[in-house]
Symmetry: D2
Subunit: 416 residues, 4 copies
């Protein structure tokens, strides 16, 4: 059963790489992105390093150089290949990385079927289960990154190649709903953070009280059409709408629209998608926005971004959506729509430890805690998030200037 | 009376420049710092632009180019001379800037003595009073920056010149107290933000409830001696103590000690101070630390930095100290010492708007709000803060890597 | 006959790509290098743009985007894809580029077999022949770059993969000869530049007189062993041996040895080659040196680098070697050895136009002339130069810091 | 007599600083420029280090830190204060530097009047004379740099302050002459390099034969009016006129005119001069041009830049002008005008050692030789060159992008 889940998640990564050539899988389009091949290898390295190396009876690495090559940022494990040079690793090639995956998968299977499964090793088996769960959630995070990174890579070619045919079902499709309105929430002392026995990351703990003043949330995400009105009103040229750092960012890069937008020869707006270049869908949620853009838009709209506590309070009454919702499926509760499965939603909250936060011991403690500075929390999930991965207490985080994620805007405002 | 306070604050700025040559006043030692001459001119510009230009009957600028030259960051006022080139403005010279100050001072005096003071202009006079108060608090902020910037400049010369003789009384002297211990505070719903009728900046408002869990604060600041132990324990070489961005920062700059520390030929630690180079005083509070260093130290010491709410809760029972306390003067309350007048104290809180925060209308709205991103709050005040400037709700803020401020460490910890 | 030569040269490019995966062919390891795929496409673009587009009856581009994508630096042709992003063009893929090559080759064949071959089109056919010759020499230049770029790319992987098995015959092997001595040449007014009817680049013309003082050249190239002595004598740490810019270059990059040298765990020197990592061959010519290193070595050895005129005077008596000479094959004349087929030889001459130099009209005029600044001339040819490509008047050129070419040192000295 | 010349040259440096405030003297407007104070100190350091330190009986440095602080680039002397931080040295101040000058001057006087002047020390006295001559020529080079650096600094202030009143006689005034024509020179084997017993720098030696083909030189410099025609013809937007590196330079910096040109509100061209901002004088020689601009202009004008050998051949028949010529004074010979005293004239020759060049032994050998790479030779002299400093064999040199020198264009062309 555990092995079935393991195999399913692992195979999904390969499925995502299916539409791509080996060339596509090797390139790194910017420092923030990684090659698909690297994602496939690194997620495997995670199982090899944190499970096989510590629990396998006669551990021997698949390849001694991989410990360094596919270490992302774990100083506790040792040296790391420089991030900026991941796209230059044409060797090992894709075939070798597939072999690496197969080898580690077989050994994980072996471990699960080994004597560890006997009752007398219950504690160790439980530890294995916990680490496997973490490894699979980790792989799901990389599945989303794989898609955002591939999108960014393909956008570099003037041929604007599609990752998938529009007829295919494998790529995420943003859905939209019409008619935004404000939903009011009472203030008070709320419980924030993960509750219950299910999996969560360490940064969702401990659950703790937090005072939240009464507030309102928009029931839907800001649409491309709404965002276009901001552009046409001169939003990108109006200093007072922007945070100081955001204004410098806009000016130094000469930005005038979201990441994948461009005009065709006739002046019509187009958006590059995983299905190639398409006319801008004005009813779809605006996405690939930085926090700077989200904040300036909110300012212009006479609103603000929610705090992560507000967002979580609002989401607590809602069943977590599994993947993108079918269009018109209706809101899961309270009139709030598009909380999950469309775009991650920027909050105004900097990514910080919850009171009493404790990272895991050892190198795994580097998973989350050391990034809690100069990053901002996004909540919900996107069209690229694997089914079953998100939840109301989930804390995604990126620097304020990151645009290549599926990140959009849900407005909030104070109740007067 | 108002004019007396005005004159006193304004004269203090000139007093601070007294020990300096015109050359000293013109140089800009780094992007973050400004020349003394620029501080003297910009604070004057603030009165001219936000008061004289809006309230003087027949306003004419002292010099038309100054509107741009001495605008710091107010897009609402118009163009700004590039920050990086402030040190290249040898013209206007110091004499011209002194004349600028005298001219604006005379006109402000004139305004205060004009018909505006008559009862029928009460509302306008009140507005004048409010803007004058803001202008003077603004000037006091620059008085502290003037000292930190001069210190940084003088440190660039291998002659290590002193700003003042040790015998002089004009420069700030860090004081120290011995014997740190933990002071416990109850948790609960606290009121955070400025209360009462006195002056405060917009970022201290509105006062609002915030839930704070029980915590402990160290009664005194971390000393140079304690920080030295961290260094000797390999603190600057131990990755797991640092935030990821902090570790990159330490490594890329090859840092091994605080900003103004160095070893003499015999290996003894020295510290550059406003009185020149001196043997390190192991009992004085460690200062000129970045948030990165403060956080790593706290981590190493098995503690953490306080949040700004915790700090404010602790400070609320304390009368605000006016300037540095005389050594051994005793703690103002509750056993907590060195809250004010020694070093600003880094908190783990990112600089963010309080719920319901409203910036001032117009260009003055750019004073604080637009910087609420990727900066962290410091609380208290330092040996360089003008007397009467600080208070319990005061929010100072700098990026995590800033070291040239008098910033130190007060530890906090969770109560088990 | 012309078509046979065309096909042979064109096939050789594909042969060089044979040992590589599609991933290998797509990556760009640094700004100065290009992906193999780009070399294959750009050389094809050259024929399509400068021949087919101007001479084909009903010209239609293979793909409209390729005109921009594979334009290297010809402003006269139009826009260019940014050089730094050549490695991000995973689309078009290798298959598409192979198809592009096949299509252009077929059309060139067609053109050669068309009515252009009839006597009445003699002038146009002659123009075609000249452009074809230029295109093929251009392709040969890229064949050498392809090898140097692949070597640089493979060196980025800690696996140090070999381009070819040592048993294979396809990769260049440096040869060595022992026993350097000085060969003296009389001074006088020499004729410099290409003579005769054979092909040459425009930068080799016009042939012109130049006065050369009596000089001596070393009969052989500096060997790895000799260069090692320079290292061991502290060459990389001795400021006065270096040009000022070279010393800054060495220090800012922390260099201590040639580009592909490293020590193994036991401290033995190894060199990365197209056959993988190998023990340093002390008798082979030192290669992958910058002009800075070549000049510092010469300085240390009490000699200097030759001028390009000196080199050419010395080479004029020598039949041009075709490819690497077999070891021990004997010097072609006058005792000088290793003039061709081992390493390009840095000269002290900046790359400048010969008196009366005229670039070709139109965009082809950008081939050479616009690069005649801040580059230095190398003479001879290397183990990676295609057979038949080099000659005594050939002027290769690179910036002084370039190290990834097969560039070495032949010493010169003044006769006292 | 020697001491009179010494005193006169030394006093001239102080005279040049006269119109400046201490603030002006301390600032460094860019990496390539140095503060006036630094020039005054470094030229003094030169005498102290290379003369007093080696010849004074009981040498003690004026200040031990100055050896490092005012060392420009002599690795043989030891450490150097970082060039980029010369403008941050507000200490030592101007008064201290003046005292330094006075002290060294007195000690040089003492040395000249000491027993060294006795016949039995003839050899040592001769060495002293030679070093003094070098030190004074060195100081004259810095006098010109002082003026170009001050001009650059003052141009940074939007007040566009004048260095001097137009009525003053102390600043250089460019003169102009009308009516350019071509002067033809025969080719042949010329003798290039300094001849005779007078002072010259080591880079002007040895005199040696060089073959020069027949050529023509423009009799006058390109004027502002002529250069304006180039601008109006789109010169800055036409890629094919520029060297590749020049085109990148123009584009990346968005350049559209020479360094100190700008348009006033009405669109009229103005030029910043040492007398402040003035209407562009269309008859004056165009100046403050880079080699890139000079080369593009020549290309546009259907001509080219001269080689340094051509320039020297032409200049050999001419008596060297002492300072700027009075307007209308007539050409000194052969119809060539403006060879000296107006603008340095870019040549197409890279700065390289003459055959048989030998730098001085020891640290003084770093004076010239180590810069012979990636720099280009300028010939003649400018309006800022001290009287008596230039000569026909003088080799000035700067990188191709340097614009802050008084550098202009004399065209050359081949004789058909």
């Amino acid at each position: 059963m555990l092995i079935d889940h393991y195999n399913k998640v692992r195979q999904h990564s390969l499925l995502l790489a299916e539409p791509l050539s080996d060339e596509d899988c090797g390139a790194q389009s910017m420092l923030d992105a990684s090659p698909v091949k690297w994602h496939l290898a690194h997620t495997t390295w995670f199982f090899e390093t944190f499970i096989l190396e510590t629990m396998e009876a006669a551990f021997a690495p698949f390849h001694p150089a991989f410990r360094v090559l596919f270490n992302s940022y774990y100083n506790g494990v040792g040296e790391k290949h420089p991030r900026a040079q991941r796209g230059l690793l044409t060797r090992p090639g894709m075939a070798a990385v597939r072999a690496y995956r197969a080898d580690v998968d077989a050994r994980i299977s072996g471990l699960l079927a080994s004597e560890l499964a006997r009752p007398e090793h219950e504690r160790e088996y439980e530890r294995l289960s916990i680490l496997l769960a973490l490894g699979l959630e980790h792989e799901q995070q990389h599945q989303e990154l794989l898609l955002t990174d591939v999108k960014h890579l393909l956008a570099q070619s003037p041929l604007f190649p599609a990752y998938l045919d529009a007829s295919s079902a494998a790529a995420p499709v943003p859905q939209h709903e019409q008619g935004a309105a404000w939903i009011a929430f009472d203030g008070g002392l709320a419980q924030i953070g993960h509750a219950g026995d299910g999996f969560c990351f360490d940064n969702e703990l401990p659950r703790h009280p937090q005072y939240v003043a009464p507030f309102q949330l928009a029931c839907a995400l800001v649409t491309n059409g709404e965002y276009l009105a901001f552009i046409e009103a001169g939003g990108y040229c109006t200093a007072h709408l922007w945070l100081a750092e955001g204004w410098d960012w806009v000016r130094s890069q000469g930005l005038q629209c979201p990441l994948y937008w461009q005009r065709d020869a006739a002046g019509h707006w187009q958006e590059f998608t995983l299905y190639g270049l398409r006319p801008l869908d004005v009813l779809a949620p605006a996405t690939h926005l930085s926090l700077f853009e989200a904040d300036a838009y909110a300012h212009w709209a006479g609103a603000r971004l929610p705090t992560e506590a507000e967002w979580e309070v609002a989401a607590q009454g809602i069943g977590v959506a599994v993947g993108p919702l079918p269009p018109g499926a209706g809101a899961p509760g309270a009139g709030l729509r598009q909380m999950f499965g469309h775009c991650w939603q920027w909050t105004s909250s900097s990514y910080a430890p919850y009171p009493g936060y404790r990272p895991a011991p050892g190198a795994l403690g580097e998973y989350n805690g050391k990034f809690m500075l100069n990053q901002y929390v996004l909540r919900g999930s996107s069209c690229a998030t694997p089914a079953g991965h998100a939840r109301a207490s989930y804390r995604n985080f990126f620097p304020a200037g990151a645009r290549w994620q599926f990140a959009g805007i849900r407005l909030a405002r104070q109740i007067d």
